[in-house]
């Protein structure tokens, strides 16, 4: 075969490759790229109810962002988002992992019980949020009733009524959903580890703890990373839970970036500011996403 014909085959192959990615690329541009760019442009303008139909909105640079970062409410919302995400992540990952380990033991009913735990994850978030709202009620809520009967508290806790405890209640409900999700993904990671590895380790005299820290954890690294990543993204952009359970209140104490951006755009019609808040949300997730992709590609190398 001559060099020339070989080249043309390579070129053909390359063209074919582009042909394959073209539809996907087009999809991303139209469905994701357009709204994203529209949103970014909007966030640099001063579009609001005042000039939306009349026209006359102008570019104001980073003013929306500057105003947001000087607004104590927005800073509180930003703090809430991180407190919510990190607390949920720590709690649901720890308990989820413990559950995954526990149910990987082969005892009777391990499978069915694991299945039952998944119900929390399968329920629509709106239903979960309504349940949470009722369970954390002050006088008629089941949580206060239980805690009082057990004797942990003397007077009802004002869960969703007080700005200091509302976040705890919201985190608890979100973890209820997050734990089965973490358990499920980590279980699939656990089953990927061959029994032989554990067997030879115990032959070499490794005890329970050593087996966990030197075999289970390293072999699960990629699943753990994925679970934490998915968990972070899923939790960071939380919306429906707060929207239904607390509407972000009382006094913005459970407002997160998602609900705050929605309120700005759809309740107060400050479209540009709402876009800016959404872009802040996007940037946070984008950074985390890049970080994850780097970790993944490093491992592949």
């Amino acid at each position: 075969m001559t060099l020339k014909s070989k080249m043309s085959i390579v070129a053909k192959k390359r063209l074919e490759g582009y042909g394959f990615i073209f539809p996907g690329f087009l999809y991303v541009i139209i469905i994701l790229g357009y709204p994203l760019i529209y949103n970014i442009i909007l966030s640099f303008k001063d579009t609001s109810v005042k000039n939306f139909a009349k026209g006359g909105s102008v570019f104001i640079g980073f003013q929306n962002y500057a105003e947001l970062f000087q607004d104590p409410t927005f800073l509180l919302v930003l703090k809430n988002t991180f407190v919510f995400t990190i607390s949920c992540l720590v709690i649901q990952f720890t308990i989820g992992f413990l559950f995954a380990l526990f149910f990987s033991q082969k005892f009777t009913f391990a499978g069915p019980i694991r299945g039952l735990i998944l119900i929390g994850y399968m329920m629509p978030m709106s239903v979960t949020a309504m349940l949470g709202k009722n369970m954390f009620g002050v006088t008629e809520g089941v949580i206060n009733d239980l805690l009082m009967k057990v004797g942990l508290i003397n007077a009802p806790v004002e869960w969703l009524v007080s700005s200091s405890t509302a976040m705890i209640a919201v985190i608890a409900v979100n973890c209820w959903v997050g734990i089965p999700f973490n358990m499920l993904l980590l279980t699939s990671g656990l089953t990927g580890i061959s029994e032989d590895v554990y067997e030879s380790a115990s032959l070499d005299g490794a005890n329970q703890f050593q087996r966990f820290f030197y075999i289970t954890l390293p072999l699960m690294k990629s699943s753990i990373l994925a679970v934490l990543m998915l968990g972070f993204i899923y939790t960071f952009k939380a919306f429906d839970l707060m929207f239904i359970m607390t509407s972000g209140g009382p006094l913005n104490s459970t407002d997160v970036l998602g609900t705050y951006a929605y309120t700005l755009s759809f309740t107060k019609y400050e479209f540009s500011k709402g876009s800016a808040a959404a872009i802040v949300l996007f940037c946070c997730l984008f950074v985390i996403g890049l970080f994850y992709l780097r970790l993944i590609s490093k491992e592949d190398d």
Binding site: L32, P35, V49, G192, I233, T246, L251, I279, F282, F286
Partner: protein
């Protein structure tokens, strides 16, 4: 195998992220309304859609639409129920995409914002010569106007707030009649509160949305303040009075999470002796949606310096881009004739928006419950109209919540609210009708 698993996870993560992006920025790609294509030719019957969020009133609305369909051949009307939250979102999105119904229903304080957003057509030319306009009450009618006083729709019904008393509880506490002043009201609250059975003297809605502002406005005005004087001592007094009820355990702190429906449920369950109640709730009692197994009585809200209540209600407007603008305006006129308004409001349990409609039937004066609301309408104030009403409203309900939760004094909370509201009102004052 492992590598593939990892890639799969990476793809999933990427997928989740893009979903996150979309959730963050909910903007629709522009689409032209498909309903417009089917009605190109003139002379044929045009399809007209109405979007509304009436629930038990829906059949009454459909009846009027059907009657109109039979009366003429210009348009054929179809009514579609869209939940309130969703409908408001659709208007906002529709302002960008142009995908709007021909006629849309809207809560009266929101109308000014949607007019500003260009959701509703200016139909002033179509209806200004209609002599009947003089019969409309000015509060509801003004909520359909833009800042220049041009009409973009017609009000459909009104409601306001009054005090609902569980007379069984009041009588048991030795009280014969509903309270009329704040002092009497406070005393009744004290006498009827029973902490052991978790029965509170009073229940209202102080939730962090428009409903919360709606229920607070009468207290603000009764104290002698209004939206333009939030930094006055009177405004602070009104908040301090309500906070006192919470602090002394006469009203549940949970009111900050209660919508009007939640507060009504508490009252219906016998957990509150008195309720700040709206006109529409009478229909809920009569239809059996809410069961009240007690003797109850309506009275005007207690007053401090002046009687006060607040106007609620829905408007209908012709949406931008409708190819049947004139025909739609004609239908609005038909729907709002004195007879039709009276018929409709009687079926739906609402107050008419026209003086002559109220006179057509004895319904609103004979039923003593409606009679109270009919009287309260004389003192009821409108919210706005102002294009930035949602922002003003947010400042007000935030102040109320901060005070009720004990995080701020009435004075401090109202000061913060006035810092938001005053600059807005300085720039564009609330439109007033002569």
């Amino acid at each position: 195998m492992k590598g593939r698993m990892k890639k799969l996870l990476a793809v999933t993560v990427a997928g989740m992220m893009t979903v996150g992006m979309l959730a963050g920025c909910g903007n629709n790609v522009s689409q032209e309304s498909s309903t417009e294509d089917s009605t190109e030719t003139k002379g044929e019957t045009k399809e007209v859609s109405i979007w509304h969020y009436f629930e038990h009133e829906a059949t009454a609305l459909e009846k009027i639409a059907e009657k109109y369909n039979e009366l003429q051949d210009d348009i054929h009307i179809t009514c579609t129920y869209v939940s309130r939250e969703e409908l408001m979102k659709q208007y906002t999105i529709g302002a960008v995409s142009g995908e709007l119904p021909d006629i849309g229903m809207v809560d009266s304080p929101d109308m000014a914002s949607y007019i500003s957003l260009g959701v509703f057509e200016d139909i002033d030319d179509e209806i200004k010569d209609w002599g009947d306009l003089d019969q409309f009450y000015s509060g509801p009618l003004s909520s359909c106007m833009d800042s220049e006083g041009r009409l973009h729709g017609l009000p459909n019904n009104s409601n306001c707030l009054a005090l609902l008393c569980n007379m069984d509880i009041l009588n048991a506490a030795g009280i014969e009649n509903p309270p009329t002043t704040w002092d009497e009201f406070y005393e009744v609250c004290q006498k009827t509160t029973n902490a052991a059975d978790s029965v509170f003297g009073f229940a209202m809605c102080a939730i962090g949305n428009e409903e919360g502002t709606f229920q607070y406005i009468p207290w603000l005005y009764s104290a002698g303040a209004d939206v333009t004087t939030l930094d006055s001592a009177e405004a602070a007094n009104s908040l301090d009075f309500l906070s006192k009820l919470v602090k002394e355990g006469l009203m549940s702190k949970e009111v900050v999470n209660w919508g009007q429906g939640d507060a009504l449920n508490a009252f219906a369950a016998g957990k509150a002796a008195m309720l700040e109640s709206g006109t529409w709730q009478i229909a809920q009692f009569d239809s059996g949606d809410v069961e009240l197994d007690c003797n109850y009585k309506y009275a005007l809200l207690p007053k401090d310096k002046a009687d006060a209540s607040v106007i609620g209600g829905e408007n209908f407007g012709v949406c931008t881009g409708s190819d049947a603008k004139e025909e739609c305006a004609e239908f609005l006129k038909y729907m709002m004739t004195a007879e039709n308004n009276a018929d409709w409001c009687e079926i739906a349990g609402k107050l008419p928006v026209r003086a002559d409609a109220t006179e057509l039937k004895s319904f609103w004066t004979e039923d003593e419950r409606y009679a109270v609301f009919n009287e309260a309408m004389n003192y009821a104030v409108a919210r706005g109209p102002h294009e930035s009403w949602p922002t003003i409203s947010e400042a007000i309900y935030t102040a109320e919540q901060a005070a009720l939760l004990g995080e701020k004094t009435g004075e401090a909370a109202m000061k913060d609210a006035s810092l938001v509201v005053n600059p807005i009102l300085e720039e564009v004052p609330i439109a007033t009708v002569e």
